[in-house]
C-alpha cells in the first residue's frame, strides 16, 4: 500500500554536490520535496473527516498505528479540489515536530537527482502565496520544478515566527 522511498545507493558519494528530490504533480505543475524530509508515499485510506477543522485538513487516518493528519495540498495552493475517489488518492508522508502529516497530491513523479547550486532563485513576480513555500526553482528540460519547503507550506515556520 505504501512504498518506502528507497535511498538511492549510487549517489552516496555525491552527497555534497547532488540534491535528491521526490517529485509530484498538482495539475501539470511539478513540485519537489527533498528526499530527506519524506518518510514514505502511500495511498491514504478511510480518512476520518474532522469537523470544525481548517479547510486544508482533509481529515485524519490510521497509517500502521500512527495517526496521520491529511493535508489537502490543492487547498493550500488555492486550487479547486479535484474529484477523486478514495482509492486513487496519493499522499506523501512527512513528519514535522514529531507529528505525522500526509500531503495529498494528484500523483507522484520520479525521484530526481539534481546538481546543487544549479537552481534559480524565486522570481519576483511569483504568486505571493506560492512564494511563501518555494525555496528554489530548477529548470528541467521541458518544465520548471518548484522545490517546496514543507514547514512553510504548512505554516509552521510563519507560526513560530509570529510566536517569537
Amino acid at each position: 500500500m505504501s512504498e518506502q522511498i528507497a535511498s538511492a545507493d549510487n549517489k552516496t558519494n555525491d552527497k555534497d554536490t547532488i540534491n535528491e528530490f521526490v517529485t509530484f504533480f498538482i495539475d501539470d505543475q511539478i513540485f519537489g520535496i527533498p528526499v530527506s524530509a519524506i518518510h514514505e508515499v502511500f495511498h491514504p485510506q478511510s480518512i476520518t473527516r474532522v469537523p470544525l477543522a481548517p479547510p486544508e485538513i482533509r481529515g485524519v487516518l490510521n497509517l500502521r498505528g500512527r495517526i496521520v493528519t491529511a493535508i489537502e495540498v490543492r487547498e493550500k495552493l488555492n486550487l479547486p479540489a479535484l474529484e477523486q475517489d478514495q482509492q486513487s488518492l496519493m499522499a506523501i508522508g512527512v513528519e514535522i515536530n514529531g507529528e505525522s502529516y500526509g500531503l495529498i497530491i494528484d500523483r507522484v513523479g520520479d525521484v530526481l537527482q539534481l546538481p546543487r547550486g544549479k537552481s534559480e532563485a524565486v522570481p519576483m513576480n511569483f504568486d505571493p502565496a506560492w512564494q511563501k513555500f518555494t525555496t528554489e526553482i530548477y529548470r528541467l528540460e521541458d518544465k520548471l520544478l518548484i522545490i517546496m519547503d514543507i514547514k512553510r507550506l504548512l505554516d509552521f515556520e510563519t507560526k513560530s515566527e509570529m510566536a517569537a
Partner: protein, 899 residues
C-alpha cells in the same frame, strides 16, 4: 552519574520528604515517640550514607540535626517551634546541597557553620543565644543557664573522650544509645558501613546486594528501582498491544473464523492482565503527592501568623504516577491558597465563634473509574460580592450577566483567566491567583474542578481526575458527521428519546430540554456543536448522553450509541488543537481514526447557564419582579379550547394502552405500577381512546396516583399567568391566555377527589388522629392562582386555611382578633413585601409568637431579602408542594414541643 550516588540521591530525597512531614507532626505532638524515632532514624541514615559516600558537608549538617533530635528523644530537651524551624532549615539546606549534587555530582564549596552552630547551641539548650545572636559560630560551651537546668544530663562533657565535645559532635554514648534504639534500616546502614570499611575495594554493587539480603529476614517487601522511562516505554507498548488486540477482535468478529477464536480469547485476557499489571506498576498512593503539604501549610501558616491544621484522608488512594505528577502543583497551590486566603486570622475566627485553629481537610477517594480529591477549609468562604464587582470591572461578565448569576456561578468565576491574574482581587479577596492555571492543568489531564463556598463556613474544591491518562474507556457514539468517542469519566447515563415516548425532547423558547426525573436537562445536539446540524425536525429519536462536568449536568443528543471501548488517547495534531471540543483522537478496533470529544469543551458551549431553571430565572429577572412565570402543561381534552395544568403538579406523563383500561364499579381503572390507578377524563365525558394509546397525566400524592386522561398533550409553556376567575364549574380554576390563546386552567384538586372520593378526607383524617384540632394556617399571597393551588393542598393535609391576597387583609384579621397557628407569606407582593410584613409581625402583640414561613421561588433577590431578616422561621420553595406541607408540619411540631 555514579549508580550509588544516584540511588542515594533518590532515596534521600524521599526520606527528606518524610522528615518534613513528620517534623510538622512532631511539632504538634512532641510527646509522640514513634514520630520522633522515625525522624531520628531517617536523619541518621542520611548521615551514615553521607559519611560513607564521602560527603562531609552533608554529613556535618545531618549530624548536627541528629544530635538535636537525639536530645529530644532522650527527653533531655523539649522541642519548641523555634528549634523545629531550625531543624527544618537544616533540612532545607541539605536539600539545597542535594540539588547541587544532582547537577554537579560533587558538594558545593563552603560550609554551613552558621546553621550547625545554631543547631549545636539548640542541642545544648541555649536556643535563645543562638537565635538572637546574629553572628555565627558562637562557641557555646558557655551556656550556663541551660546546663544548670539540665544537670541530669551534662552535655558538654564526654566521658569517653575525656574532653569537652566540639560543636556538632555527639558523645559516643549518645550515639550508641541512638543506634541501639533505632531499628531496621539503621542496622542495615551499619552493615553497609561495616562492609564497606572492611572490603573497600569490593564492588559497591555487591555491598548493595548484601543490604538486600540482610533485609530479607525482616520480611520487607522487596522492591527494585526502575527507571521511569522504561515504565513509560512499557506502557506505550502495552497501549499499542491493546489497540492491536482490539483490531484483531474486530477482524475475527467479521470473518467468524472459529480457529482463531480460542487463541484470541487467550490473547485478549493476557493482554488485559498485562495492561492491568503495567498500570499497577505506575500506580502510586496519592499520599506521595501530599507529603510535602504539611510542611507547606506549616510554613505559610507561620508566615501569615495563623493556626492551621491539615487533615488528610485517603492517602492510600492510588493513581497513575503521571497523573500524580501533574496534579502535584495544582494541589500545592490550592492548599496554600486555603491557608493564605481561605482561612481567616485567628482573632477573626474566634470572634466568629470558630475554633482558633483553621482546618484544611484533604481527602481522596475512588468514584467509578476516577479519583475525587477534595480540599476543604472551614474559612470565611469566597467573597461573592467582591468577585462579582471585580469580574464586572475587568469585563469578564456584564452587569446583566452578573445580576442573573447565582452565587455559585459567581464563585466559579475565580477559574476565569482574567480575574485571577489581577493583583487587586488578591489583596481584597485572596484566592484566585492562578486558579485559572489550576483549572487548565486539571483539564489537561481530562479532569474537572468545581467548588462550593458557603459564606462563613468555608470553601470546598472538588477535583475529579481519571485514574490514568494513557488508556481510557470511552463511549462510541455516532452522528451524521461520523463516529466520536466520549470519555466515560463524564458520562452519567444514557437516555433513549423518542418522538412521543416517556422521554422526549421539548423546546422551551429555543432551548431544548429533556424532562428527566425531577430535572429539566439542557440538551445540546452533537451535530450542531460540530457545525453540521441535522435537517430540521428530523430529530425525533436518538440517544441523549447525560454528562456531568463539574457541577454542570447536560445532555448531548446523538443518533446512535455503540459500545464502550478502551481507547488509547493519542494527542491531536498541532493543526487541530484549536478545536475546543476535541481533546484527542484514537484508533478504533476497525482501524479507523475517531476524534475524542472533550467534555470540558462541550460544557463551555453550554455556557454559564447550566440548566434551564437558571435560564428561566434569568428571563424572569429581566421582566418585572412581580410577574412570575409559571410552567404550564398544555393539552386538549374534550372541546377545541386548550386546557392547562401547572407543570409542577404533574408527576409523570404516560401513554396507556387502551386495552388495559378496565371498568370497575362504574369507574375507569388501569393497572399502574402494581396498583390500580383511577382514570378520569379531563374532558368530563368518559371518552377514552379505543385504538391509539391514551395520553395520561399522572398525579401522585402520598403514594396514591390518579390519571387524568387527555386527548392530546400539546406543549409546555412558561408564561406570566393572569387568571380570570371562573365561578361556574368546579373543575376549572379560571382561564388564562397561554401562547396567545384563551386556555382553561384546570383545578387538579377537583380531579383528585373524583379519583379518590376520600382524597382530601383521608389525609385530613390522618391528620386528625394526630392532632385534636386542625391547625389554622394564614396564607398570604397576591397570586390568585397560587392561592388556589396551595389552599386545597393544605386543606388536604388537614389544615384550616385562610387564604388572603394582601398583608392589609392580614392586619384586618389581626385586629379582628383571629388566631392562627402559622403564617405563610409570599415575599414579593404589590402593596407590601413579605420581609417588612414579617418584621412587623415579629413586633406585634398578638401574633409575634406565631411561626412565620416565607414562600419563595428561592431566587437570588428573594434570598437576599430573606437573609436580611430573622423574622422568618423558615423558607420554603414555592413550587415544592411536598416540602411546604412537611415544613409546616415541622415548624408546628417544633412550636408544640417548645410550648
Amino acid at each position: 552519574m555514579d549508580d550509588l550516588l544516584s540511588d542515594f540521591l533518590a532515596e534521600t530525597q524521599e526520606s527528606l520528604e518524610v522528615v518534613d512531614a513528620e517534623l510538622v507532626k512532631f511539632e504538634q505532638q512532641p510527646e509522640d515517640d514513634a514520630t520522633l524515632n522515625n525522624i531520628f532514624r531517617l536523619v541518621h541514615t542520611i548521615k551514615g550514607t553521607c559519611g560513607f559516600l564521602g560527603l562531609p558537608r552533608l554529613e556535618a549538617l545531618a549530624h548536627a540535626g541528629e544530635t538535636l533530635l537525639g536530645k529530644y528523644r532522650d527527653k533531655a530537651l523539649i522541642a519548641t517551634p523555634d528549634t523545629v524551624t531550625l531543624i527544618l532549615e537544616s533540612i532545607d539546606k541539605i536539600k539545597e546541597i542535594l540539588d547541587y549534587l544532582t547537577e554537579t555530582q560533587s558538594e558545593p564549596e563552603g560550609g554551613d557553620e552558621e546553621i550547625i552552630s545554631k543547631l549545636v547551641a539548640a542541642s545544648e539548650g541555649s536556643m535563645e543565644v543562638a537565635v538572637t545572636a546574629s553572628a555565627p559560630a558562637v562557641e557555646t560551651e558557655t551556656a550556663p543557664v541551660a546546663e544548670e537546668e539540665l544537670d541530669e544530663a551534662p552535655i558538654g562533657f564526654d566521658e569517653d573522650l575525656d574532653r569537652d565535645l566540639r560543636p556538632g559532635e555527639v558523645s559516643l554514648a549518645d550515639l550508641e544509645a541512638a543506634f541501639l534504639a533505632a531499628d531496621g534500616p539503621d542496622l542495615d546502614q551499619l552493615a553497609v558501613e561495616a562492609d564497606e570499611a572492611i572490603k573497600q575495594e569490593e564492588d559497591k554493587k555487591a555491598a548493595k546486594k548484601e543490604v538486600k539480603k540482610s533485609t530479607e529476614p525482616l520480611k520487607i517487601v522487596q522492591t527494585v528501582r526502575v527507571n521511569v522511562d522504561s515504565l513509560e516505554d512499557l506502557m506505550a507498548m502495552v497501549s499499542e498491544l491493546v489497540l492491536t488486540r482490539n483490531q484483531l477482535l474486530q477482524t475475527v468478529r467479521e470473518t467468524n473464523s472459529d480457529d482463531l477464536k480460542l487463541p484470541l480469547q487467550r490473547l485478549s485476557s493476557v493482554t488485559a492482565e498485562l495492561q492491568e499489571g503495567v498500570m499497577k506498576t505506575r500506580m502510586q498512593p496519592i499520599g506521595n503527592a501530599w507529603k510535602k503539604l504539611p510542611r507547606i501549610v506549616r510554613d505559610s501558616a507561620k508566615a501569615v501568623n495563623k493556626k492551621v491544621q491539615l487533615n488528610m484522608k485517603g492517602e492510600q488512594t492510588e493513581l497513575d504516577r503521571q497523573v500524580l505528577e501533574l496534579i502535584g502543583d495544582p494541589l500545592t497551590h490550592m492548599v496554600r491558597n486555603s491557608c493564605d486566603h481561605g482561612l481567616e486570622p485567628s482573632d477573626i475566627r474566634v470572634a466568629a465563634g470558630k475554633p482558633e485553629a483553621g482546618q484544611i481537610n484533604l481527602s481522596a477517594y475512588h468514584e467509578g473509574g476516577h479519583i475525587v480529591i477534595e480540599i476543604a477549609d472551614d474559612g470565611a468562604g469566597l467573597p461573592t460580592s467582591k468577585i462579582r464587582s471585580k469580574a464586572i470591572k475587568n469585563g469578564t461578565i456584564s452587569q446583566e450577566d452578573a445580576d442573573a448569576m447565582t452565587d455559585n456561578q459567581i464563585h466559579r468565576l475565580i477559574f476565569a483567566a482574567g480575574l485571577s491574574t489581577a493583583a487587586a482581587v488578591t489583596s481584597i479577596s485572596g484566592r484566585g491567583v492562578g486558579m485559572d492555571v489550576v483549572r487548565s492543568n486539571i483539564e489537561q489531564i481530562g479532569g474537572t474542578i468545581d467548588l462550593k463556598s458557603i459564606d462563613g463556613q468555608g470553601t470546598t474544591f472538588k477535583i475529579k481526575i481519571p485514574l490514568t491518562l494513557a488508556i481510557v474507556s470511552a463511549l462510541i457514539v455516532e452522528t451524521r458527521a461520523g463516529k466520536f468517542a466520549i470519555p466515560q469519566l463524564a458520562v452519567v447515563e444514557l437516555v433513549r428519546t423518542t418522538a412521543n415516548g416517556d422521554h422526549r425532547i421539548e423546546t422551551i423558547s429555543n432551548a431544548r430540554v429533556l424532562r428527566l426525573r425531577d430535572k429539566l436537562l439542557p440538551i445540546l445536539d452533537l451535530s450542531e456543536i460540530i457545525g453540521e446540524p441535522a435537517e430540521k425536525e428530523e430529530k425525533g429519536t436518538g440517544f441523549v448522553v447525560v454528562m456531568t462536568v463539574g457541577e454542570q449536568t447536560f445532555g448531548v443528543l446523538v443518533d446512535s450509541v455503540f459500545d464502550t471501548e478502551e481507547i488509547v488517547v493519542k494527542p491531536m495534531s498541532d493543526r487541530l488543537k484549536s478545536i475546543e471540543i476535541f481533546s484527542g483522537n484514537t484508533i478504533l478496533g476497525d482501524g479507523s481514526v475517531i476524534m475524542i470529544v472533550d467534555p470540558n469543551g462541550i460544557a463551555r458551549q453550554v455556557g454559564s447557564l447550566n440548566d434551564v431553571e437558571q435560564a428561566s430565572a434569568k428571563s424572569k429577572n429581566m421582566t418585572s419582579d412581580s410577574e412570575t412565570k409559571t410552567a404550564m402543561l398544555l393539552f386538549f381534552a374534550g372541546g377545541k379550547e386548550p386546557k392547562a395544568v401547572p407543570l409542577s403538579l404533574v408527576t409523570r406523563l404516560e401513554e396507556i394502552d387502551p386495552q388495559k383500561i378496565e371498568i370497575s364499579n362504574g369507574r375507569h381503572l388501569v393497572q399502574y405500577r402494581d396498583t390500580l390507578m383511577p382514570l378520569i377524563h379531563a374532558g368530563g365525558a368518559p371518552s377514552f381512546n379505543e385504538e391509539t394509546p391514551q395520553p395520561v397525566l399522572v398525579f401522585t400524592d402520598d403514594g396514591r396516583s390518579v390519571g387524568l386522561a387527555v386527548d392530546e398533550i400539546v406543549d409546555i409553556v412558561e408564561e406570566v399567568l393572569h387568571i380570570e376567575m371562573a365561578d361556574n364549574s368546579p373543575e376549572i380554576i379560571g382561564s388564562a391566555v397561554l401562547k396567545g390563546k384563551a386556555t382553561e386552567v384546570l383545578d387538579v384538586g377537583h380531579f383528585l377527589t373524583l379519583g379518590f372520593h376520600d382524597w382530601f378526607e383521608r389525609a385530613a383524617a390522618d391528620q386528625e388522629t394526630q392532632e385534636t384540632a386542625a391547625k389554622r394556617v394564614l396564607l398570604v399571597d397576591d397570586n390568585a392562582f397560587f392561592r388556589n393551588m396551595v389552599k386545597p393542598l393544605l386543606s388536604a393535609a388537614g389544615y384550616e386555611v385562610t387564604a388572603i391576597e394582601s398583608t392589609s387583609e392580614a392586619w384586618k384579621l389581626n385586629e379582628a382578633g383571629v388566631e392562627f397557628d402559622i403564617i405563610v407569606s409570599d415575599i414579593e407582593m404589590p402593596d407590601d413585601n413579605g420581609v417588612d410584613f414579617a418584621n412587623r409581625l415579629a413586633k406585634d402583640l398578638r401574633w409575634s409568637t406565631v411561626p412565620r414561613l416565607a414562600l419563595s421561588a428561592l431566587e437570588q433577590h428573594d434570598l437576599e431579602k430573606i437573609g436580611a431578616t430573622t423574622a422568618f422561621t423558615d423558607v420554603v420553595r414555592k413550587s415544592d408542594r411536598e416540602s411546604l406541607v412537611s415544613t409546616i408540619n415541622y415548624v408546628l411540631q417544633l412550636k408544640g414541643e417548645a410550648a
